[in-house]
Symmetry: C2
Amino acid sequence: MNAHNWTQTLRVDSGFRLADVDPNAKPGYSDGKSDGTRDLATGLEKLNELQERLFAQSRAEVAKDAVLLVLQAMDSAGKGGIVRHVVGSVDPQGVELAAFKAPTEEERAHDFLWRIEKRLPAAGFIGVFDRSHYEDVLIGRVRELAPPAEIERRYEAINEFEARVVASGTRIVKVMLHISPDEQKSRLMERLERPDKHWKYNPGDVDERLLWPEYMQAYQTMFDRTSTAAAPWHVIPANAKWYARLAVQELLLAALEDINPQWPLANFDVEAEKKRLKHS
Amino acid sequence: MNAHNWTQTLRVDSGFRLADVDPNAKPGYSDGKSDGTRDLATGLEKLNELQERLFAQSRAEVAKDAVLLVLQAMDSAGKGGIVRHVVGSVDPQGVELAAFKAPTEEERAHDFLWRIEKRLPAAGFIGVFDRSHYEDVLIGRVRELAPPAEIERRYEAINEFEARVVASGTRIVKVMLHISPDEQKSRLMERLERPDKHWKYNPGDVDERLLWPEYMQAYQTMFDRTSTAAAPWHVIPANAKWYARLAVQELLLAALEDINPQWPLANFDVEAEKKRLKHS
Protein backbone atom coordinates (compact mmCIF):
# COMPACT_ATOMS: atom_id res chain seq x y z
CA MET A 1 0.00 0.00 0.00
CA ASN A 2 1.46 3.31 -1.07
CA ALA A 3 1.60 5.33 2.12
CA HIS A 4 -0.22 8.65 2.47
CA ASN A 5 -1.45 8.94 -1.09
CA TRP A 6 -4.56 7.00 -0.25
CA THR A 7 -5.64 9.57 2.31
CA GLN A 8 -6.15 12.04 -0.55
CA THR A 9 -9.45 10.29 -1.16
CA LEU A 10 -10.63 11.47 2.26
CA ARG A 11 -10.16 15.11 1.47
CA VAL A 12 -13.16 17.40 1.28
CA ASP A 13 -13.08 19.19 -2.08
CA SER A 14 -15.73 21.23 -3.85
CA GLY A 15 -18.86 19.21 -4.54
CA PHE A 16 -18.30 17.01 -1.49
CA ARG A 17 -21.47 15.61 0.01
CA LEU A 18 -21.33 14.14 3.50
CA ALA A 19 -24.55 12.22 2.80
CA ASP A 20 -22.65 10.23 0.15
CA VAL A 21 -20.00 8.96 2.60
CA ASP A 22 -20.53 5.44 3.89
CA PRO A 23 -19.31 5.25 7.51
CA ASN A 24 -18.47 1.59 6.92
CA ALA A 25 -16.22 2.26 3.93
CA LYS A 26 -12.42 2.16 3.93
CA PRO A 27 -11.73 4.47 1.00
CA GLY A 28 -8.33 4.16 -0.58
CA TYR A 29 -7.39 1.21 1.57
CA SER A 30 -7.90 -2.16 -0.02
CA ASP A 31 -6.44 -4.32 2.75
CA GLY A 32 -8.32 -5.73 5.70
CA LYS A 33 -8.08 -5.34 9.44
CA SER A 34 -5.05 -7.56 9.99
CA ASP A 35 -3.05 -5.67 7.36
CA GLY A 36 -4.35 -2.43 8.81
CA THR A 37 -3.11 -3.37 12.26
CA ARG A 38 0.30 -4.21 10.78
CA ASP A 39 0.42 -0.93 8.86
CA LEU A 40 -0.54 0.91 12.03
CA ALA A 41 2.43 -0.59 13.88
CA THR A 42 4.80 0.22 11.00
CA GLY A 43 3.46 3.74 10.79
CA LEU A 44 3.91 4.31 14.52
CA GLU A 45 7.65 3.79 14.17
CA LYS A 46 7.85 6.35 11.38
CA LEU A 47 5.66 8.73 13.33
CA ASN A 48 7.91 8.37 16.34
CA GLU A 49 11.06 9.21 14.44
CA LEU A 50 9.53 12.18 12.62
CA GLN A 51 8.04 13.50 15.84
CA GLU A 52 11.38 13.19 17.62
CA ARG A 53 13.11 15.12 14.85
CA LEU A 54 10.48 17.84 15.06
CA PHE A 55 10.79 18.00 18.82
CA ALA A 56 14.60 18.06 18.57
CA GLN A 57 14.28 21.24 16.52
CA SER A 58 12.31 22.87 19.30
CA ARG A 59 14.96 21.95 21.85
CA ALA A 60 17.66 23.34 19.57
CA GLU A 61 15.50 26.46 19.20
CA VAL A 62 15.43 26.17 15.41
CA ALA A 63 11.88 24.84 15.07
CA LYS A 64 9.61 26.81 12.75
CA ASP A 65 6.94 24.20 12.11
CA ALA A 66 4.23 22.51 14.08
CA VAL A 67 1.34 20.14 13.44
CA LEU A 68 -2.19 20.71 14.67
CA LEU A 69 -4.66 17.84 14.56
CA VAL A 70 -8.25 19.04 14.86
CA LEU A 71 -10.73 16.29 15.78
CA GLN A 72 -14.47 16.72 15.37
CA ALA A 73 -17.17 14.07 15.54
CA MET A 74 -20.48 13.04 16.95
CA ASP A 75 -20.26 11.44 20.42
CA SER A 76 -18.61 8.02 20.64
CA ALA A 77 -17.07 8.29 17.16
CA GLY A 78 -13.62 7.51 18.52
CA LYS A 79 -11.82 10.79 19.20
CA GLY A 80 -10.55 9.43 22.50
CA GLY A 81 -9.18 6.33 20.82
CA ILE A 82 -7.28 8.46 18.31
CA VAL A 83 -5.75 10.50 21.11
CA ARG A 84 -4.84 7.41 23.05
CA HIS A 85 -3.69 5.00 20.37
CA VAL A 86 -2.32 7.23 17.63
CA VAL A 87 -1.15 10.41 19.32
CA GLY A 88 -0.47 8.50 22.55
CA SER A 89 2.18 6.43 20.83
CA VAL A 90 4.62 9.32 20.46
CA ASP A 91 6.68 10.99 23.17
CA PRO A 92 4.26 12.95 25.37
CA GLN A 93 6.92 15.63 25.84
CA GLY A 94 6.31 16.72 22.25
CA VAL A 95 2.52 16.71 22.35
CA GLU A 96 0.18 19.50 23.44
CA LEU A 97 -3.32 18.23 23.97
CA ALA A 98 -6.34 20.49 24.39
CA ALA A 99 -9.84 19.15 25.08
CA PHE A 100 -12.38 21.91 24.55
CA LYS A 101 -15.55 21.69 26.62
CA ALA A 102 -18.47 24.10 26.77
CA PRO A 103 -16.86 27.54 27.14
CA THR A 104 -16.54 29.06 30.59
CA GLU A 105 -18.00 32.42 31.50
CA GLU A 106 -14.59 34.05 30.96
CA GLU A 107 -14.23 32.40 27.58
CA ARG A 108 -17.71 33.46 26.52
CA ALA A 109 -16.79 37.05 27.33
CA HIS A 110 -14.20 36.89 24.51
CA ASP A 111 -14.36 36.13 20.81
CA PHE A 112 -14.78 32.40 20.18
CA LEU A 113 -11.21 32.14 18.87
CA TRP A 114 -9.66 33.62 22.03
CA ARG A 115 -9.40 30.33 23.90
CA ILE A 116 -8.31 28.56 20.72
CA GLU A 117 -5.37 30.87 20.04
CA LYS A 118 -4.02 30.20 23.52
CA ARG A 119 -3.82 26.46 22.90
CA LEU A 120 -2.09 26.49 19.52
CA PRO A 121 0.97 24.22 19.54
CA ALA A 122 4.40 25.83 19.81
CA ALA A 123 6.88 25.25 16.99
CA GLY A 124 8.29 21.74 17.27
CA PHE A 125 5.14 20.31 18.82
CA ILE A 126 2.18 18.26 17.72
CA GLY A 127 -0.99 19.88 19.01
CA VAL A 128 -4.26 18.01 19.26
CA PHE A 129 -7.65 19.66 19.60
CA ASP A 130 -10.27 17.27 20.96
CA ARG A 131 -13.19 19.39 19.73
CA SER A 132 -12.28 22.90 18.69
CA HIS A 133 -13.48 26.26 17.36
CA TYR A 134 -15.70 24.21 15.05
CA GLU A 135 -18.06 23.54 17.94
CA ASP A 136 -19.00 27.21 17.56
CA VAL A 137 -20.46 26.50 14.11
CA LEU A 138 -21.77 23.01 14.95
CA ILE A 139 -23.56 22.90 18.29
CA GLY A 140 -23.51 26.70 18.03
CA ARG A 141 -25.62 26.49 14.88
CA VAL A 142 -27.80 23.51 15.77
CA ARG A 143 -28.62 24.79 19.25
CA GLU A 144 -28.79 28.43 18.12
CA LEU A 145 -26.27 29.44 20.80
CA ALA A 146 -25.52 32.59 18.81
CA PRO A 147 -27.54 34.71 16.36
CA PRO A 148 -27.46 33.55 12.71
CA ALA A 149 -25.38 36.56 11.63
CA GLU A 150 -22.75 35.68 14.25
CA ILE A 151 -22.63 32.06 13.08
CA GLU A 152 -22.20 33.32 9.51
CA ARG A 153 -19.37 35.62 10.57
CA ARG A 154 -17.50 32.73 12.16
CA TYR A 155 -16.87 30.74 8.97
CA GLU A 156 -14.82 33.51 7.42
CA ALA A 157 -13.19 34.33 10.76
CA ILE A 158 -12.08 30.70 11.02
CA ASN A 159 -10.65 30.72 7.50
CA GLU A 160 -8.65 33.87 8.16
CA PHE A 161 -7.48 32.57 11.51
CA GLU A 162 -6.37 29.24 10.08
CA ALA A 163 -4.67 30.89 7.09
CA ARG A 164 -2.56 32.88 9.53
CA VAL A 165 -1.76 29.80 11.62
CA VAL A 166 -0.72 27.90 8.48
CA ALA A 167 1.37 30.83 7.26
CA SER A 168 3.19 30.84 10.59
CA GLY A 169 4.37 27.27 9.92
CA THR A 170 1.68 25.02 11.40
CA ARG A 171 0.20 22.21 9.32
CA ILE A 172 -3.46 21.92 10.26
CA VAL A 173 -4.92 18.44 9.87
CA LYS A 174 -8.69 18.70 10.16
CA VAL A 175 -10.53 15.44 10.70
CA MET A 176 -14.17 14.57 11.07
CA LEU A 177 -14.69 11.00 12.27
CA HIS A 178 -17.89 9.84 10.61
CA ILE A 179 -19.98 7.11 12.21
CA SER A 180 -23.49 5.99 11.40
CA PRO A 181 -26.43 6.57 13.77
CA ASP A 182 -26.73 2.80 14.24
CA GLU A 183 -23.10 2.47 15.18
CA GLN A 184 -23.49 5.30 17.67
CA LYS A 185 -26.53 3.63 19.17
CA SER A 186 -24.61 0.41 19.68
CA ARG A 187 -21.60 2.19 21.20
CA LEU A 188 -23.75 4.26 23.57
CA MET A 189 -25.70 1.14 24.54
CA GLU A 190 -22.45 -0.60 25.45
CA ARG A 191 -21.59 2.34 27.72
CA LEU A 192 -24.93 1.94 29.43
CA GLU A 193 -24.59 -1.79 29.83
CA ARG A 194 -21.17 -1.72 31.48
CA PRO A 195 -20.83 -0.01 34.88
CA ASP A 196 -17.15 0.64 34.13
CA LYS A 197 -18.29 2.64 31.09
CA HIS A 198 -21.06 4.65 32.70
CA TRP A 199 -18.68 7.59 33.17
CA LYS A 200 -18.37 7.86 29.42
CA TYR A 201 -22.11 8.26 29.04
CA ASN A 202 -23.96 11.54 29.29
CA PRO A 203 -27.73 11.84 28.86
CA GLY A 204 -26.94 14.90 26.73
CA ASP A 205 -25.42 12.52 24.16
CA VAL A 206 -28.92 11.27 23.32
CA ASP A 207 -30.26 14.82 23.22
CA GLU A 208 -27.71 15.63 20.51
CA ARG A 209 -28.31 12.30 18.81
CA LEU A 210 -31.96 13.22 18.33
CA LEU A 211 -30.73 16.15 16.24
CA TRP A 212 -28.61 13.96 13.94
CA PRO A 213 -29.97 15.37 10.65
CA GLU A 214 -29.46 18.93 11.89
CA TYR A 215 -25.88 18.09 12.87
CA MET A 216 -25.15 16.51 9.51
CA GLN A 217 -26.45 19.67 7.85
CA ALA A 218 -24.24 21.81 10.11
CA TYR A 219 -21.24 19.60 9.23
CA GLN A 220 -22.04 19.91 5.52
CA THR A 221 -22.17 23.70 5.77
CA MET A 222 -18.95 23.69 7.78
CA PHE A 223 -17.24 21.64 5.06
CA ASP A 224 -18.60 23.91 2.32
CA ARG A 225 -17.37 27.02 4.06
CA THR A 226 -14.12 26.01 5.76
CA SER A 227 -12.45 23.28 3.71
CA THR A 228 -9.76 25.52 2.26
CA ALA A 229 -6.62 24.84 0.26
CA ALA A 230 -4.56 25.94 3.26
CA ALA A 231 -6.47 23.76 5.72
CA PRO A 232 -8.71 21.18 4.06
CA TRP A 233 -11.09 18.91 5.94
CA HIS A 234 -10.88 15.13 5.84
CA VAL A 235 -13.90 12.96 6.50
CA ILE A 236 -12.88 9.57 7.82
CA PRO A 237 -15.42 6.76 7.89
CA ALA A 238 -15.13 5.60 11.47
CA ASN A 239 -17.42 2.64 12.00
CA ALA A 240 -14.23 0.56 11.84
CA LYS A 241 -11.95 1.96 14.52
CA TRP A 242 -8.79 0.44 13.07
CA TYR A 243 -9.40 2.14 9.73
CA ALA A 244 -10.01 5.53 11.34
CA ARG A 245 -6.84 5.26 13.42
CA LEU A 246 -4.81 4.23 10.41
CA ALA A 247 -6.18 7.11 8.34
CA VAL A 248 -5.42 9.71 11.02
CA GLN A 249 -1.95 8.29 11.42
CA GLU A 250 -1.37 8.55 7.69
CA LEU A 251 -2.55 12.17 7.69
CA LEU A 252 -0.15 12.98 10.53
CA LEU A 253 2.67 11.21 8.70
CA ALA A 254 1.93 13.20 5.55
CA ALA A 255 2.02 16.47 7.52
CA LEU A 256 5.31 15.54 9.17
CA GLU A 257 6.84 14.39 5.90
CA ASP A 258 5.82 17.69 4.39
CA ILE A 259 7.76 19.42 7.18
CA ASN A 260 10.59 16.93 6.66
CA PRO A 261 12.30 17.80 9.95
CA GLN A 262 16.06 17.22 10.06
CA TRP A 263 18.18 16.55 13.12
CA PRO A 264 19.39 20.00 14.15
CA LEU A 265 23.07 20.74 13.66
CA ALA A 266 25.10 21.19 16.81
CA ASN A 267 25.41 24.85 17.71
CA PHE A 268 28.61 24.07 19.62
CA ASP A 269 32.03 22.65 18.74
CA VAL A 270 31.51 18.90 19.03
CA GLU A 271 35.21 17.98 19.19
CA ALA A 272 35.96 20.68 21.75
CA GLU A 273 33.05 19.45 23.88
CA LYS A 274 34.29 15.86 23.68
CA LYS A 275 37.65 16.99 25.05
CA ARG A 276 36.05 19.10 27.75
CA LEU A 277 33.78 16.24 28.78
CA LYS A 278 36.65 13.75 28.75
CA HIS A 279 38.63 15.84 31.20
CA SER A 280 35.69 16.63 33.43
CA MET B 1 8.06 -9.93 44.10
CA ASN B 2 5.68 -8.23 46.48
CA ALA B 3 4.59 -5.11 44.61
CA HIS B 4 5.16 -1.63 46.03
CA ASN B 5 6.51 -2.62 49.42
CA TRP B 6 10.02 -2.76 48.05
CA THR B 7 9.96 0.91 47.09
CA GLN B 8 9.84 1.76 50.81
CA THR B 9 13.58 1.17 50.83
CA LEU B 10 14.00 4.14 48.47
CA ARG B 11 12.40 6.59 50.83
CA VAL B 12 14.45 9.38 52.33
CA ASP B 13 14.05 9.25 56.10
CA SER B 14 16.00 10.99 58.82
CA GLY B 15 19.67 10.09 58.78
CA PHE B 16 19.63 9.51 55.03
CA ARG B 17 22.96 10.14 53.34
CA LEU B 18 23.01 10.53 49.58
CA ALA B 19 26.73 9.72 49.58
CA ASP B 20 25.86 6.21 50.80
CA VAL B 21 23.60 5.43 47.84
CA ASP B 22 25.18 3.32 45.10
CA PRO B 23 23.79 4.45 41.72
CA ASN B 24 24.29 0.89 40.44
CA ALA B 25 22.21 -0.70 43.19
CA LYS B 26 18.69 -2.07 42.80
CA PRO B 27 17.51 -1.79 46.39
CA GLY B 28 14.57 -3.94 47.33
CA TYR B 29 14.51 -5.66 43.99
CA SER B 30 16.26 -8.99 43.84
CA ASP B 31 15.37 -9.95 40.28
CA GLY B 32 17.36 -9.06 37.19
CA LYS B 33 16.69 -7.08 34.05
CA SER B 34 14.54 -9.66 32.27
CA ASP B 35 12.26 -10.03 35.29
CA GLY B 36 12.27 -6.27 35.65
CA THR B 37 11.10 -5.84 32.07
CA ARG B 38 8.32 -8.35 32.68
CA ASP B 39 7.28 -6.63 35.91
CA LEU B 40 7.28 -3.31 34.06
CA ALA B 41 4.85 -4.68 31.47
CA THR B 42 2.59 -6.17 34.16
CA GLY B 43 2.69 -2.93 36.12
CA LEU B 44 1.74 -0.87 33.07
CA GLU B 45 -1.55 -2.72 32.81
CA LYS B 46 -2.36 -2.01 36.44
CA LEU B 47 -1.27 1.60 36.03
CA ASN B 48 -3.53 1.94 33.02
CA GLU B 49 -6.59 0.67 34.80
CA LEU B 50 -6.01 2.76 37.92
CA GLN B 51 -5.34 5.86 35.84
CA GLU B 52 -8.52 5.31 33.85
CA ARG B 53 -10.55 4.99 37.04
CA LEU B 54 -9.03 8.20 38.37
CA PHE B 55 -9.70 9.99 35.09
CA ALA B 56 -13.26 8.64 35.01
CA GLN B 57 -13.85 10.39 38.32
CA SER B 58 -12.82 13.69 36.81
CA ARG B 59 -15.20 13.21 33.90
CA ALA B 60 -18.01 12.38 36.31
CA GLU B 61 -17.02 15.49 38.31
CA VAL B 62 -16.51 13.49 41.49
CA ALA B 63 -12.70 13.45 41.49
CA LYS B 64 -11.04 14.74 44.63
CA ASP B 65 -7.61 13.22 44.23
CA ALA B 66 -4.66 13.67 41.93
CA VAL B 67 -1.10 12.41 41.65
CA LEU B 68 1.91 14.65 41.14
CA LEU B 69 5.20 13.08 40.12
CA VAL B 70 8.14 15.42 40.72
CA LEU B 71 11.31 14.43 38.84
CA GLN B 72 14.70 15.87 39.74
CA ALA B 73 18.11 14.68 38.60
CA MET B 74 21.45 15.64 37.16
CA ASP B 75 21.47 15.87 33.34
CA SER B 76 21.06 12.61 31.40
CA ALA B 77 19.84 10.69 34.45
CA GLY B 78 16.75 9.53 32.59
CA LYS B 79 13.88 11.91 33.35
CA GLY B 80 12.87 11.92 29.70
CA GLY B 81 12.79 8.14 29.61
CA ILE B 82 10.51 8.06 32.66
CA VAL B 83 8.14 10.53 31.02
CA ARG B 84 8.17 8.60 27.77
CA HIS B 85 8.12 5.00 28.91
CA VAL B 86 6.33 5.06 32.25
CA VAL B 87 4.01 8.07 32.14
CA GLY B 88 3.75 7.79 28.34
CA SER B 89 2.11 4.41 28.66
CA VAL B 90 -1.11 5.76 30.11
CA ASP B 91 -3.85 7.70 28.34
CA PRO B 92 -2.43 11.15 27.54
CA GLN B 93 -5.87 12.65 28.15
CA GLY B 94 -5.37 12.07 31.87
CA VAL B 95 -1.81 13.38 32.11
CA GLU B 96 -0.67 16.96 32.67
CA LEU B 97 3.01 17.35 31.92
CA ALA B 98 5.03 20.43 32.86
CA ALA B 99 8.69 20.85 31.92
CA PHE B 100 10.20 23.70 33.90
CA LYS B 101 13.05 25.57 32.24
CA ALA B 102 14.96 28.60 33.51
CA PRO B 103 12.26 31.03 34.66
CA THR B 104 11.13 33.78 32.28
CA GLU B 105 11.30 37.44 33.20
CA GLU B 106 7.60 37.36 34.11
CA GLU B 107 8.11 34.29 36.29
CA ARG B 108 11.10 35.86 38.02
CA ALA B 109 8.95 38.84 38.90
CA HIS B 110 6.83 36.53 41.08
CA ASP B 111 7.55 34.23 43.99
CA PHE B 112 9.26 31.02 42.83
CA LEU B 113 6.12 29.00 43.57
CA TRP B 114 3.89 31.16 41.34
CA ARG B 115 4.60 29.27 38.14
CA ILE B 116 4.45 25.95 40.01
CA GLU B 117 0.97 26.52 41.43
CA LYS B 118 -0.37 27.15 37.93
CA ARG B 119 0.76 23.74 36.72
CA LEU B 120 -0.57 21.60 39.56
CA PRO B 121 -2.66 18.72 38.22
CA ALA B 122 -6.44 19.00 38.44
CA ALA B 123 -8.33 16.36 40.43
CA GLY B 124 -8.49 13.16 38.41
CA PHE B 125 -5.18 13.79 36.66
CA ILE B 126 -1.61 12.60 36.93
CA GLY B 127 0.69 15.59 36.83
CA VAL B 128 4.37 15.29 36.02
CA PHE B 129 6.96 17.94 36.81
CA ASP B 130 10.10 17.51 34.72
CA ARG B 131 12.23 19.65 37.04
CA SER B 132 10.27 21.73 39.51
CA HIS B 133 10.38 24.24 42.34
CA TYR B 134 13.34 22.26 43.62
CA GLU B 135 15.54 23.86 40.98
CA ASP B 136 15.20 26.98 43.09
CA VAL B 137 17.10 25.30 45.93
CA LEU B 138 19.44 23.28 43.69
CA ILE B 139 20.87 25.34 40.85
CA GLY B 140 19.56 28.32 42.82
CA ARG B 141 21.87 27.39 45.70
CA VAL B 142 24.85 26.11 43.72
CA ARG B 143 24.89 29.05 41.33
CA GLU B 144 23.90 31.56 44.01
CA LEU B 145 20.97 32.79 41.92
CA ALA B 146 19.38 34.17 45.07
CA PRO B 147 20.76 35.46 48.38
CA PRO B 148 21.39 32.78 51.05
CA ALA B 149 18.52 34.02 53.21
CA GLU B 150 16.13 33.65 50.28
CA ILE B 151 17.34 30.11 49.60
CA GLU B 152 16.82 29.32 53.30
CA ARG B 153 13.30 30.74 53.19
CA ARG B 154 12.39 28.48 50.30
CA TYR B 155 12.73 25.14 52.12
CA GLU B 156 10.02 25.99 54.61
CA ALA B 157 7.94 27.68 51.90
CA ILE B 158 8.10 24.45 49.88
CA ASN B 159 7.06 22.34 52.86
CA GLU B 160 4.06 24.54 53.58
CA PHE B 161 3.12 24.65 49.90
CA GLU B 162 3.32 20.88 49.53
CA ALA B 163 1.43 20.27 52.77
CA ARG B 164 -1.43 22.32 51.36
CA VAL B 165 -1.31 20.48 48.04
CA VAL B 166 -1.37 17.12 49.82
CA ALA B 167 -4.22 18.25 52.09
CA SER B 168 -6.21 19.18 48.98
CA GLY B 169 -6.04 15.55 47.80
CA THR B 170 -2.89 15.32 45.69
CA ARG B 171 -0.37 12.56 46.34
CA ILE B 172 3.07 14.01 45.70
CA VAL B 173 5.64 11.46 44.55
CA LYS B 174 9.07 13.09 44.74
CA VAL B 175 11.85 11.30 42.92
CA MET B 176 15.52 11.99 42.48
CA LEU B 177 17.11 9.81 39.83
CA HIS B 178 20.64 9.16 41.01
CA ILE B 179 23.37 8.39 38.51
CA SER B 180 27.14 8.28 39.00
CA PRO B 181 29.47 10.85 37.45
CA ASP B 182 31.00 8.09 35.28
CA GLU B 183 27.62 7.04 33.97
CA GLN B 184 26.81 10.65 33.16
CA LYS B 185 30.09 11.01 31.31
CA SER B 186 29.33 7.99 29.20
CA ARG B 187 25.77 9.14 28.43
CA LEU B 188 26.88 12.65 27.51
CA MET B 189 29.68 11.23 25.35
CA GLU B 190 27.14 9.14 23.45
CA ARG B 191 25.15 12.29 22.76
CA LEU B 192 28.28 13.92 21.36
CA GLU B 193 29.17 10.92 19.23
CA ARG B 194 25.80 10.62 17.52
CA PRO B 195 24.61 13.49 15.29
CA ASP B 196 21.00 12.44 15.94
CA LYS B 197 21.66 13.01 19.67
CA HIS B 198 23.44 16.35 19.43
CA TRP B 199 20.18 18.15 20.16
CA LYS B 200 20.12 16.52 23.57
CA TYR B 201 23.53 17.93 24.42
CA ASN B 202 24.12 21.35 25.89
CA PRO B 203 27.59 22.67 26.77
CA GLY B 204 26.01 23.90 29.97
CA ASP B 205 25.62 20.25 31.00
CA VAL B 206 29.38 20.01 31.46
CA ASP B 207 29.45 23.31 33.34
CA GLU B 208 27.01 21.85 35.87
CA ARG B 209 28.87 18.52 35.86
CA LEU B 210 32.01 20.30 37.03
CA LEU B 211 30.04 21.29 40.12
CA TRP B 212 28.99 17.71 40.93
CA PRO B 213 30.06 17.79 44.62
CA GLU B 214 28.29 21.11 45.13
CA TYR B 215 25.14 19.67 43.57
CA MET B 216 25.28 16.55 45.73
CA GLN B 217 25.56 18.81 48.77
CA ALA B 218 22.57 20.86 47.59
CA TYR B 219 20.59 17.63 47.09
CA GLN B 220 21.56 16.42 50.56
CA THR B 221 20.37 19.68 52.11
CA MET B 222 17.19 19.52 50.05
CA PHE B 223 16.50 16.00 51.34
CA ASP B 224 17.25 17.04 54.92
CA ARG B 225 14.90 19.96 54.74
CA THR B 226 12.04 18.84 52.48
CA SER B 227 11.58 15.09 52.88
CA THR B 228 8.44 15.33 54.98
CA ALA B 229 5.90 12.78 56.14
CA ALA B 230 3.35 14.39 53.83
CA ALA B 231 5.65 14.39 50.82
CA PRO B 232 8.77 12.27 51.26
CA TRP B 233 11.60 12.09 48.76
CA HIS B 234 12.70 8.90 47.07
CA VAL B 235 16.21 8.45 45.74
CA ILE B 236 16.28 5.95 42.90
CA PRO B 237 19.62 4.53 41.75
CA ALA B 238 19.42 5.18 38.02
CA ASN B 239 22.51 3.78 36.37
CA ALA B 240 20.25 0.92 35.26
CA LYS B 241 17.40 2.56 33.35
CA TRP B 242 15.09 -0.44 33.64
CA TYR B 243 15.36 -0.39 37.42
CA ALA B 244 14.66 3.34 37.65
CA ARG B 245 11.59 3.02 35.43
CA LEU B 246 10.30 0.08 37.41
CA ALA B 247 10.80 1.93 40.69
CA VAL B 248 8.97 5.05 39.49
CA GLN B 249 6.16 2.90 38.16
CA GLU B 250 5.85 1.16 41.53
CA LEU B 251 5.74 4.51 43.32
CA LEU B 252 2.97 5.71 40.99
CA LEU B 253 1.09 2.46 41.53
CA ALA B 254 1.38 2.85 45.29
CA ALA B 255 0.02 6.41 45.08
CA LEU B 256 -2.89 5.32 42.90
CA GLU B 257 -3.64 2.32 45.11
CA ASP B 258 -3.68 4.66 48.07
CA ILE B 259 -6.32 6.73 46.26
CA ASN B 260 -8.09 3.49 45.30
CA PRO B 261 -10.28 5.16 42.66
CA GLN B 262 -13.62 3.47 41.98
CA TRP B 263 -15.64 3.64 38.78
CA PRO B 264 -18.02 6.53 39.38
CA LEU B 265 -21.67 5.66 39.86
CA ALA B 266 -24.01 6.82 37.12
CA ASN B 267 -25.63 10.13 38.02
CA PHE B 268 -28.52 9.30 35.70
CA ASP B 269 -31.18 6.58 35.52
CA VAL B 270 -29.44 3.82 33.55
CA GLU B 271 -32.60 1.90 32.66
CA ALA B 272 -34.45 5.04 31.60
CA GLU B 273 -31.50 6.03 29.40
CA LYS B 274 -31.43 2.59 27.79
CA LYS B 275 -35.07 3.01 26.83
CA ARG B 276 -34.55 6.53 25.58
CA LEU B 277 -31.53 5.45 23.52
CA LYS B 278 -33.37 2.44 22.14
CA HIS B 279 -36.14 4.63 20.79
CA SER B 280 -33.85 7.32 19.45
